[in-house]
Symmetry: C2
Subunit: 342 residues, 2 copies
């Protein structure tokens, strides 16, 4: 069993720097495309055997040091009672967005075992197969709220911020329910066998820091506190586009902060407080020629030498146009360069 | 003549804090919608009388302290020889993106007087009418390049970054031409009567800081140096989502740095070097109730008291859903609160 990832989460020195990539199981992989081509995205998420298969693919192909459950952050929102549609090329759609008290009250806090059994079954299947740790995950409440309030992806978050500013009680009632849902969902994942948990705050960077502090941070704090009462596995929080949020995120009771590519890694490490750091190669840097890609990775590893624990990752998810051979080059470089010093 | 805006650009104390908003002439205004409804967006940009009319609307209605030419950053790209289409709700499209040496060589550096006379005519008409300074503008080269290389708006900038990383000579040849075009376009605007010039780097924040330094910053430096040789009007550079780029942007030979809303204003001022600062209210903060909006503005003005020159603005453009009454509240609050201390 390769436990370097878990050790790095806890700030321990490891024999090499562990590496995994956000969206490492996904459309850039021909093996994934083959499985995905015969069913919808949601069907794939809800089929434990197939979700297991695609989760394992990048581990087998590239030798990543951690696996992450194949799923989607919006699965629990559907389980809260909101019909969810995915249309290729258009992103997720909630045809019945939550914009008033009646819709907020209609949201139910799901029971993961009863309402999303396929997620827990996937985790159990994966744990039988994996020789690396398995990461479970969920969306962070603000990010999830943007989808259910806007009715899908958004550019300016007019409905979400409008509600935040004009109907803060309604906003809070929705976020409280999403928070309760997320805590119990992640606790269930831990009980089923997840060995670390990551909260994805993909849209945190759309908020002014003062609004992040009021309208996003408290719900993350609640979830982390809930998780600490039920599990002692490492907790990771990733605020995308979050460089200016570090004064807040560095205070969180997480083990690891995920960092996007807009901030130099050395700066992020300096400002991450007592956390291990995970990140932050630009996903598009995988389009660099081999020598340049390796040079960039070497520079990041040098910058990370002072971290209290470091996990190599991208600064956001692998993009579909990525050449899998380039992923192989990157993973090998992280392993090779970080072993040399030991 | 109200010259507070120009004085603040130069770091002088003013009788009140000047204020203008990016996209202050635009879709949120019923008067704009009336003019726009009878023609396409490009027709409006190219009609000096109508472009003048919509430029003046927000000055007359709200009492902004500066006007900005109504136009689009992609107008000079069309003049470089690239067919340009705007489809409502879809953003701009270049059906013939620039992706190889042949397409790069076919780009011509336009002559503003001959190829975009409507822009200069609009400036001349505006100067006859305006009692506040007129800002001319252009897109910054990296931002313009993303549109012409991607063929329109983009999410991940795969074509642009791919070219940057794999064909840096091709990338540079395109950027050099866009840079030459932008310099001569802005010099022509200054000669026609623009009293300040702003460079919009809307997509700068998509770059890792190390790539910004190599692939975006040098072209901005070239334009600013070109402009300094031909005019002494204030120069403003706005890098959207640029908090982590401040170590670079603060070294630029601009008079003013525009700041987006993701960084606390006090932090931005501290890190802006010798520049005046312009920004940075979240455009969505215009959805706050009156008292909360006024409180936020008062806090920003307090934070700005240490700036070497401060111009109140949004952190990005006014969104179409904005209530014009809220814009009035904001402009009045900036004027009222900042006059009290004098």
């Amino acid at each position: 069993m390769n436990t370097t990832f878990l050790e790095a989460c806890r700030g321990k020195k490891t024999s090499h720097v562990p590496v995994w990539f956000m969206r490492q199981a996904g459309r850039y992989l021909p093996d994934y495309q083959r499985v995905r081509s015969r069913r919808t995205f949601l069907e794939l998420c809800k089929n434990p055997e197939l979700a297991t298969e695609v989760t394992l693919q990048p581990i087998d192909i590239f030798g990543f040091d951690a696996a992450i459950l194949f799923s989607d952050i919006l699965i629990p929102m559907e389980a809260m009672g909101l019909p969810l549609e995915f249309h290729d090329g258009r992103g997720p759609i909630f045809p019945e967005p939550v914009r008033d008290q009646k819709a907020a009250e209609a949201l139910r806090v799901p029971d993961t075992e009863a309402d999303m059994p396929f997620v827990l079954e996937t985790i159990r299947l994966l744990r039988r197969e994996l020789k690396v740790p398995l990461i479970g995950f969920a969306g962070a409440p603000f990010t999830l709220a943007t989808y259910v309030i806007e009715g899908g992806s958004s550019k300016n978050f007019v409905a979400t911020k409008g509600m935040m500013f004009h109907e803060p009680e309604l906003y809070r009632s929705i976020l409280d329910k999403i928070t309760a849902c997320t805590s119990s969902y992640l606790i269930a994942q831990a009980k089923a066998g997840a060995q670390a948990l990551q909260l994805f705050d993909s849209w945190a960077g759309a908020l002014a820091p003062c609004d992040y502090e009021r309208f996003a941070l408290p719900y993350v704090q609640t979830i982390l506190a809930d998780l600490r009462q039920h599990t002692d596995i490492p907790l990771i929080y990733f605020a995308n586009n979050g460089a200016t949020l570090l004064p807040y995120t560095s205070t969180l009771d997480a083990d690891v902060l995920g960092i996007d590519w807009r901030i130099p890694l050395a700066d992020a490490i300096r400002r991450a407080g007592p956390h291990a750091v995970q990140g932050n190669l630009d996903p598009l840097a995988l389009f660099l020629p081999k020598e340049d890609l390796e040079a960039r990775i070497a520079a990041m590893l040098a910058d990370a030498s002072e971290a209290r624990g470091y996990i190599f990752n991208l600064g956001h998810g692998v993009v579909p146009e990525t050449d899998p051979d380039q992923v192989k080059i990157a993973v090998d470089a992280v392993h090779r360069f970080s072993s040399q010093g030991n």
